[in-house]
């Protein structure tokens, strides 16, 4: 099993519902967030283009954060999820430095926190909260090893990109372009 999130930048309107849903679902402390929306503007008028991206931890296959963690608190879970065990985290900040996506932050309670793809919801057979609330349904979640899955199909039929592939992290959040 290989969990992946596919986000359609053509359908995203940048409403930030995913951000609020995550903060609510995961009890993210006020002033912090595990996901966020980027507006990437390019060109000069009249030739301008805008791309909207809902970003979060990419649950990389070759995760620099897992590699550099001195205590093993950052680790892989089934399906390629990257998670932090709170009780093992000493808050050294190495993983925060190692993430090219700046997806991790230091939780006020003294550990490093980030998106878990809503692992607790997946175990109940539900979708991650950000995906489940998206009003334009531009976010998809599934198993890339399952050829029948929507995520697999979308990556077969549409043009897509991942963020900063040159860092070699092999991200598992894909953007349809």
């Amino acid at each position: 099993m290989r969990y992946a999130m596919v986000i359609d930048t053509k359908k995203c309107v940048g409403c930030s519902d995913c951000v609020v849903a995550c903060q609510n679902e995961n009890r993210v402390p006020i002033g912090y967030c595990r996901d966020w929306v980027i507006e990437h503007a390019k060109g000069t008028f009249p030739n301008v283009s805008i791309e909207l991206r809902s970003e979060r931890c990419n649950h990389c296959e070759n995760s620099p954060c897992v590699r550099c963690c001195p205590t093993g608190a950052s680790h892989y879970e089934d399906g390629g999820l990257v998670k932090v065990t709170r009780q093992e985290c000493i808050g050294c900040g190495a993983c925060v430095q190692s993430c090219p996506y700046d997806a991790r932050y230091s939780h006020p309670d003294g550990f490093v926190d980030k998106c878990t793809f809503c692992h607790h919801r997946l175990q109940e057979g539900k979708l991650p909260s950000c995906v489940s609330v998206c009003p334009t349904e531009c976010m998809y979640f599934g198993d890339l090893d399952d050829k029948e899955s929507k995520v697999y199909q979308l990556l077969q039929n549409r043009n897509w990109k991942v963020l900063a592939p040159e860092v070699g992290t092999k991200p598992h959040v894909y953007y349809l372009i």
Binding site: V37, P64, P70, T71, I90, C92, S98, A164, E166, V167
Partner: protein
């Protein structure tokens, strides 16, 4: 125009608008760790070469400050942790892939080693000293008996400690300014040169001072070569690293780096030492202080600037 705006208002503290997860604690430790590694390296080296008698400062006197330096450095590292009471988790596992795990274990080896080394030379400092505790005398006897093998362990572990301070940073491929393999050797040489500067400063013996003055000159030469190499590497690399190098080539850190580190911390002390070797009277404190200051500034701006450098996507 090519502009990215976070429209959902992400303002995670210490991440936005620029990364600042590591403050003064880490660069201070990197400096102190390199300094301790430098002093221990020369103490071990000249013990192995059998020159304890000629070079009393390098082998004995200077090593007395090492435990203090390491303890201050370790305390700085401790302060950096967000979950301080869990620091012992570093020692419940060995993770070969993680430079920080290496660093934690090497410190676990080097710190007691440096203390033991000093205990065995304690009578130099206080003649006719009697240890109140019996086992300390036992330690002293054993260390003096096995001084050479101990020196071998210390020379290897001090090199690992010195090079680790650079590798800690260079292993982060997310920060283009750090992600260069020359950083390990550069930090090692810089650490050795600060160590030599301290020995030179503390020494009262002319022969020893001249020797360490020459050693420092060579190390400064190697450092300058490595720095040129560093920038050649950046400018011949990918867009992210070319961008990162701009922080030092016209960007915010240009003056501090070229003025503070290269001119004040390397070139000026080198010139002063050459003048001294040619017979001019230069107070030894001056080049030694400048080398230490330059080393310290170098660690601080590398850690700071590295956190500003990132991949653009």
């Amino acid at each position: 125009m090519d502009e990215e705006i976070i429209i959902s208002g992400r303002m995670n503290p210490k991440i936005d608008p620029t990364l600042g997860i590591w403050g003064w604690e880490i660069p201070l430790y990197l400096f102190l760790g390199g300094l301790a590694a430098g002093i221990l390296f020369f103490a071990a080296l000249y013990t192995i070469l059998g020159r304890e008698k000629e070079l009393p400062t390098a082998v004995r006197k200077a090593t007395f400050i090492v435990p203090a330096i390491l303890v201050i450095g370790l305390f700085a590292l401790f302060l950096d942790l967000k979950n301080k009471l869990y620091f012992w988790q570093l020692y419940t596992t060995i993770r070969l892939e993680s430079p920080m795990s290496w660093g934690a274990w090497v410190l676990m080896l080097v710190t007691p080693l440096s203390i033991v080394w000093c205990v065995a030379y304690w009578r130099d400092l206080v003649p006719n000293w009697k240890f109140k505790v019996e086992w300390l005398e036992f330690v002293e006897k054993q260390v003096n008996k096995y001084r050479k093998p101990l020196a071998w362990v210390m020379i290897v572990s001090s090199v690992i400690l010195g090079i680790y301070t650079g590798i800690l940073l260079s292993a982060f491929n997310a920060r283009p300014l750090w992600n260069t393999s020359i950083l390990g050797p550069l930090f090692l040489v810089s650490g050795l040169s600060t160590g030599a500067a301290v020995i030179m400063w503390m020494s009262k013996d002319h022969l020893e001072r001249t020797l360490f003055s020459k050693i420092d000159l060579i190390l400064i030469g190697i450092e300058i070569f490595f720095i040129i190499h560093l920038f050649m590497g950046f400018l011949a690399s990918n867009a992210a690293q070319i961008e990162a190098a701009q922080l030092f080539l016209g960007g915010a850190y240009t003056l501090l780096f070229w003025g503070g580190v290269v001119v004040l911390g390397l070139l000026v002390p080198a010139i002063l030492e050459i003048l001294e070797l040619r017979g001019k009277r230069i107070p030894v404190a001056l080049p030694a202080f400048l080398i230490l200051l330059g080393g310290m500034i170098f660690r601080f701006i590398m850690v700071d600037a590295g956190q500003l450098s990132k991949y653009l996507y």
